[in-house]
């Protein structure tokens, strides 16, 4: 039975039908993940709800309840990883080289800028931290590198910027997972082994999903396979002390590269969970923030350094995306949820005082999002 007849709602696979190219409307863009219009930064709303309901607010979301949300949070991370994995492989081949170069360069400039600046400041002012200042700075630098590009518009310039923003999520997931594994202790060799196991598990789960999805005999059975697969991605990442983002990302790559429509089935079924899970992730992030002087200070520093980093990155990559650096910087300013997700991932794996990272990353991301709301972001094609 052909996949098209079997699962008509997900359509044909571009790899199976090379011409004409399939219009990728089915792919839910990460920037629209929360299903809310461009005029409002939804992450701000959910973070604010989290702050209000969390221990710093009315304590409805007590630390105990937040702990119980761990499985859902790790599932949300895996789902995000899948969307990033599928999203980055949908870039047209002709535009891929420039997008990858721009995304990679943008990541390096922003991460180095934020991490270097933070390390210098943390060290110079001897800020008391539960983890080494260099590690903290490196981690926050990676978390700050993501761009969501929420209101760039529909022009060709906007598409180029969106492609770049999609690609810069990849190094964030890869290096973020390395950072989490490394911060987990037990030495570099053990961390490398766990990372290798995470990648292998992600590939294995992707393969198992590919074997199961298209051969499901009905929607309920398919739901069991997709849900089970996502839970496995979430669980292996957490058990190995690395990141469900990475397992989800690797599994998605397997789905995309394998023949058939496994990627579409996965994305199609996960779309139902996407909105509530990401909202939950942001609410948990907001509730996890412990308002201390260190958090506020580091968040302000991260915000300013990220702003500088994005401007520098825009200058560096402007020739590749063919957009004026000033406009590009404003488009790249909204950080999205990936940095916050990585910080929550670290706090769940590392435990203890690492919640500080969530506080700083979330506050800085919320401030960046708020700032971006007041800046023009619509990109028009230049004659």
């Amino acid at each position: 039975m052909s996949p098209e007849r079997h699962w008509p709602e997900v359509g044909r696979d571009a790899l199976d039908a090379p011409a004409p190219p399939v219009r990728r409307r089915w792919l839910p863009r990460r920037r629209l993940a929360l299903g809310v219009g461009d005029t409002l930064a939804p992450s701000l709303v959910f973070i604010a709800i989290g702050v209000l309901l969390g221990p710093s607010g009315i304590n409805v979301l007590s630390p105990g309840i937040l702990g119980r949300a761990e499985p859902l949070v790790s599932v949300a991370l895996a789902v995000l990883g899948v969307f990033v994995g599928v999203g980055t492989t949908t870039i047209p081949r002709a535009a891929a080289r420039d997008a990858y170069l721009a995304g990679g360069l943008g990541f390096i400039v922003t991460t180095v800028g934020v991490a270097g600046g933070l390390w210098f400041l943390l060290d110079a002012w001897a800020v008391p931290l539960p983890i080494p200042a260099a590690a903290c700075a490196a981690f926050l630098g990676i978390a700050a590198s993501a761009s969501a590009v929420t209101h760039a518009g529909q022009s060709e310039s906007a598409r180029r910027v969106i492609r770049m923003a999609d690609v810069d999520d990849v190094p964030l997931i890869v290096f973020g997972s390395v950072a989490v594994a490394w911060l987990g202790g037990e030495g570099s060799a053990a961390a490398a082994l766990r990372l290798a196991a995470t990648v292998a598990s992600g590939a294995g789960i992707g393969l198992a999903g590919w074997l199961l999805f298209e051969r499901a005999t009905g929607t309920p059975e398919r739901g069991v396979f997709v849900t089970g697969t996502i839970l496995l991605m979430a669980g292996t990442g957490m058990y190995l002390g690395t990141s469900p983002l990475l397992t989800g990302f690797v599994a998605a790559l397997v789905w995309v590269r394998a023949p058939g429509v496994a990627d579409r089935i996965g994305v199609n079924d996960l779309r139902v969970l996407q909105h509530p899970l990401l909202a939950l992730l942001l609410i948990v992030a907001g509730a996890t923030i412990e308002w201390t002087l260190v958090v506020v200070w580091a968040a302000v520093a991260t915000l300013l350094l990220r702003l500088v980093g994005k401007i520098l990155a825009s200058v560096a990559v402007a020739p590749l995306v063919r957009v004026r650096p000033g406009l590009l910087a404003t488009a790249l300013l909204p950080p999205g949820v990936l940095g916050i997700a990585l910080a929550i991932n670290a706090s769940h794996v590392l435990g203890g005082d690492s919640a500080l990272l969530v506080g700083i990353a979330t506050t800085a991301a919320a401030a960046s999002e708020a700032l971006a709301m007041f800046l023009p972001g619509e990109l028009e094609d230049e004659a």
Binding site: R215, G228, L240, V349, G351
Partner: protein, 433 residues
Amino acid sequence: MSLARPLALLIIFGIIVGVQRIAPVGAASSVALPFGFSLIAAYLLGGAAEIVRLPRLSGYLLFGLLCGPYLLNLITASMARDLQLVNGLAISLIALIAGIEINIERLRARAKAIALVGTVTLGVMYAVIGVLFFIAWPWLPIAPDAVGLQRLSMVLVLTAITASFSPTVIIAVVAESRARGPLAELVIATAVLADLALILVFTLVMQLARTMAGGAAEGGGLLVNLSWEIFGSLAFGGVVGGLFAFYLRLVGRELTLVLLALCVILSQAGRLWHLEPLLASLAAGLVIENIAPARADALRDAVERSALPVLILFFAAAGASLQLDALAVIGVPAVAVAIVRVVSLRAGASMGLRSAGLTDDTSQLLWTGLVSQAGVTLGLGVLVATEFPEWGRPVQTLVVALSGLHVLVGPILFRNALVRAGEVGRLDGPPAH
């Protein structure tokens, strides 16, 4: 036969073994891993069970048993505990499904007969099991030296637990078999009725046991507690069901998620406010079906989507938590008690059906549905062990062993009976009138 599924299963087994070997000591455990593993692997093994004409549920149970802490240990003891998290949700969802599927109009005509069948069945079981326990007490490894009223109180407590049924497993077998018909309705109604009787009888015999142990009697509080547990549960379920019915009518979006949230509310409120989640969820289902029948199809779709994973996890968890060591310790007495229970159940059901005038062949299969025991029985065992550690712990061990035996055999018997009655798969067809 396609090799895709065995290959996928093999890959997943490999991943679980690998992850357990490599995971750092004291790593952040994640409930997601046993959930994901159980969901896919148990489902695939359930399919294998179907090939040899066993119910899928038995496959899920066997998966839990095989991969659980006592055999392969792929689901470690802590993972098995994590899996239990789904129990409250599963019980609520399963009871909600029963409420939605129970046709009050059809049941009303048979209400008297069902009440008579239930009463006679339980009466015979209590009498036979109780007398045998009292006579055989010195040979049971519980408290052989107990005599007189003290022995009587212990016997009554043990009898009440032994005679209990599992509405959850019954409804789950019906839901998983997509069954609809007189036998399914008769078994569900009898089991729910027996569950109400169990709450009543167990509360009374525990009170007697407390008095025998020299504890303070609760007096008038007993009646209030009972009323709260039964009528409070029904009222709470009715209100929640009514609100959900209005949500169905006015909003009607994200039904799967809202349905799962509803089940969480029903199960958690039960725990917090000492309500019976099974009754509350059943009442909610009945109210939804009667207030918003127009949206019943959308609701059934949502139930169908959410029920399968929850059922799989519930039975995989039950399998993983089967304490094989309890069976090893108390195996012979447990098998003997299980045989006595099934014989008395069959005799009681037969007498009850005859006295109610239900002499058709299908109704004679009633006993097969009532063999299963699971969550409620185990929960009562825990209560006894907590309150009376000296003799309650051996009682709990016996109850665990009994439940293990019954939950393995019960679904197989019931599913076969549903097949014989021609009721399997009828839920997918037009409603029976």
